[in-house]
């Protein structure tokens, strides 16, 4: 007797604990094995690009906070850099250093959250997530000192930053920099050599460098495949050409390497902030400019190395006070391009972990 079997389609999302928001995948299963993946996006679409066309250049900064809401600083940075290119402006030195400090702290936050949720997807009952959140809180406290906000910071301005860091910021930052490596060690001690984590993630969903480049991957996920591409080195912006740091690359491009690259990048970020604290000199933090910008007609695109990958705002000016067009290159969205290559042939549990290892953010995917 032959049993008639047929593949079963399961909707993962849009309401699902592991889709990090409202991402939806139509997974076709043969038993536990995945035979097809169909991502469906758009449940969080807010029309940011269109909204940007209706606002002054300065007002758009607040919109960028709400893209990748765990990495608002780098969103601000990418936008104001493009604006500065358009206007022909440059931030003063101290402003540049403050931007780098804020952006690198934000990278630590984003990587901590990415790691925490990655392990949550692995089934570690929220414990690593809570540890990551604990450290994140300390960095958010620093952001609060800088600009009064914790998540939607809007700290950067066209031509610098909103304000100089207050006096209490520096000792607090010093304390964080002294203690953070220890916490990262603690986290790594629990996870990096954990047998179950190794068994679940090593060699799972490997991506080759060719696949990654063809899929336009950027950021930690690209570096995990062994490609040493980092915009902070390739096209330095702000003060990145004045600090020494290493680009972390992986070997196999599997889920484990994607996790490990993030953890190592946190250490590099700490190194960068340390150097910035040493090098920063007193001075103005913001170029004296008008509040309302009227850039000459033209276009500008300055990509930055956001925690998730290459983030850039492609701005077109028609000479008015509002951008004519604002296109956002969102790394989270583009990093989802290899879902099929990553998931087909693997089991359901692996698919969830692979999704977590991409560390995408729905605010940025749907924009």
């Amino acid at each position: 007797m032959t049993l008639h079997t047929q593949p079963v389609v399961v909707n993962i999302g849009p309401h699902h604990p592991s889709t990090h928001g409202v991402f939806r995948m139509r997974l076709t299963f043969d038993g536990e094995n995945i035979v097809d993946v169909e991502p469906v996006v758009g449940y969080l679409h807010r029309g940011t690009e269109k909204l940007a066309e209706e606002r002054h250049y300065t007002q758009v900064i607040t919109l960028t906070d709400r893209l990748d809401y765990v990495a608002s600083m780098t969103n601000n940075e990418a936008y104001v850099l493009s604006c500065e290119r358009l206007v022909g402006l440059e931030a003063p030195e101290r402003g540049k250093y403050l931007r780098v400090i804020a952006a690198e702290l934000q990278r630590i936050v984003s990587h901590l959250i990415g790691t925490g949720f990655f392990l949550q997807d692995l089934g570690a009952f929220a414990t690593p997530l809570m540890y990551c959140m604990r450290e994140r809180e300390r960095i958010l406290d620093l952001f609060e000192m800088l600009c009064g906000a914790r998540i939607t910071v809007s700290y950067m301005r066209i031509g610098g930053v909103f304000q100089d860091a207050p006096d209490e910021f520096w000792p607090a930052l010093r304390k964080l920099l002294d203690e953070l490596p220890r916490y990262i060690d603690e986290l790594e001690g629990l996870i990096t050599t954990n047998e179950i984590v190794l068994a679940r993630t090593k060699g799972v969903s490997p991506v080759t460098p060719e696949q990654a480049i063809n899929g336009s991957w950027t950021g930690p996920v690209l570096r995990s495949t062994g490609v040493d591409w980092d915009l902070r080195k390739a096209a330095p912006y702000d003060a990145y050409d004045k600090v020494a740091f290493d680009v972390v690359v992986g070997e196999n491009g599997d889920n484990y390497d994607r996790y490990l690259v993030r953890i190592r990048e946190i250490r590099e970020s700490i190194r960068i902030v340390e150097q910035c604290v040493k090098q920063i000199e007193p001075g103005p933090v913001r170029a004296t400019t008008a509040m309302l910008f009227k850039p000459p007609p033209g276009e500008a695109y300055v990509p930055v190395e956001a925690p998730k990958g290459e983030l850039g705002f492609y701005l077109v000016s028609d000479g008015s006070i509002k951008p004519y067009r604002c296109h956002i290159r969102a790394p989270s969205f583009i990093n989802l391009s290899l879902l099929r290559e990553m998931m087909v042939g693997w089991k359901m549990s692996d698919a969830i972990v692979s999704l977590g290892s991409l560390d995408f953010n729905m605010g940025e995917v749907d924009r």
């Binding site: 079963v8 399961v10 699902h16 604990p17 592991s18 536990e32 392990l119 949550q120 997807d121 692995l122 089934g123 570690a124 009952f125 929220a126 414990t127 809570m130 540890y131 604990r134 629990l190 990096t192 050599t193 954990n194 047998e195 179950i196 984590v197 190794l198 068994a199 679940r200 090593k202 060699g203 995990s224 040493d228 980092d230 080195k233 390739a234 330095p236 050409d241 290493d246 680009v247 972390v248 690359v249 992986g250 070997e251 196999n252 484990y256 390497d257 490990l260 690259v261 953890i263 190592r264 590099e268 089991k347 359901m348 549990s349 692996d350 969830i352």
Partner: protein, 393 residues
Amino acid sequence: MGDLLRENTLYGNIYDWAIGIVGEDLAWLAYTVAVMAIILLVVNAFLAMGTLYTWAERRIIGRFQSRVGPNRVGPFGLLQAIADAVKLLFKEDIVPRAADRIVFNLAPIAMLAPSVMALAVIPFGQTSYLANLNIGLLYLIATSGIASLAVMMAGYASSNRYAMFGAMRAVAMLISYEIPLVMVLLAVALLAGSMSLVDVMTSQAIPFLLVTPLGAIIFFLAISAELNRSPFDITEAESELIAGYLTEYSGMKFGVFYLAEFANVLLAGAIFSTLFLGGWPWWTPLSHVWFLVKVMAFAFIAIWVRSTIPRFRIDQIMVIAWKVLFPLSLVNVAAIAIEVVAWPERTLPQLVIMGIINWGITAVATVAVTRAWRASNGLRVSPSARAVRLEVG
């Protein structure tokens, strides 16, 4: 009637008291009264303990996760479980339209009933067991087998694909882990020379945990899988299957599943402390307290494991069941069978010798299994990310 219960002092007292009132002619009435009293006490105490345990689990996991945990309702949040139960009672009881109504409604009962049934043979303390059944271990296996049926019922009747996934995983896993579990129980029965849990308890001159550590480890792993606890919680893996087989359950039916799961942890602790921790020692008047302490120690370790380690994948779980635990349990049974033949009296010095041999076997088996596991998965602990120096520009 009631011969099985004669050794239970509480039963005996109530029975004698009732007989004094109604007289020998109405012995059946006295029997009924006494049995009902016992059932009322045991079942309610067990479920109350289960409720308390949910609070303990949440608080302790909170500590593990550097947060507070429930602390609003009552002192230290002790009444949280009651507040939750009241909330669940008032919730709408939703049955999906496509669900198989009868099976859907039966499943929670089928989940909770076997864990209560299993209590019949557990010796809680000196003269505090309901039945000194001579097939006690077999009875335990029989009742615990029903739970997997309940999971399958819930998953099938929900008519939900997540639930079906959970149910399929559950059946595959529970049946696989039943086998090493039974093999360990066989080894314990050999060691004790009896299948009655009271005899198992009394034969432990030293706790069997020290005599047969391999058996205890296998039992702990297998029972974790039977309980759907981390790292074997694939049946309700919340990051994959939302809630697995109980996705569609709401209201008190969900509450019953929830309660059954947590009560099962206590039951597993009771079985573990009976089989491996020597239960209650004869010398202490506080035998019940001593037993409870051991159960709580087991429960604490279960919470610790749950809050610490991630989850296995279904194929890895099957590999562990069939390629690791099953052969190891065979080794365990064989070793103990030979030892029992060699030292049939099982006096204290003989148990010590057995223990030394079994510790050796455990150490060798653990090392061998770890090596084989790493080799088969191609695992290298050495980290694979490196830092490269790039020139600026």
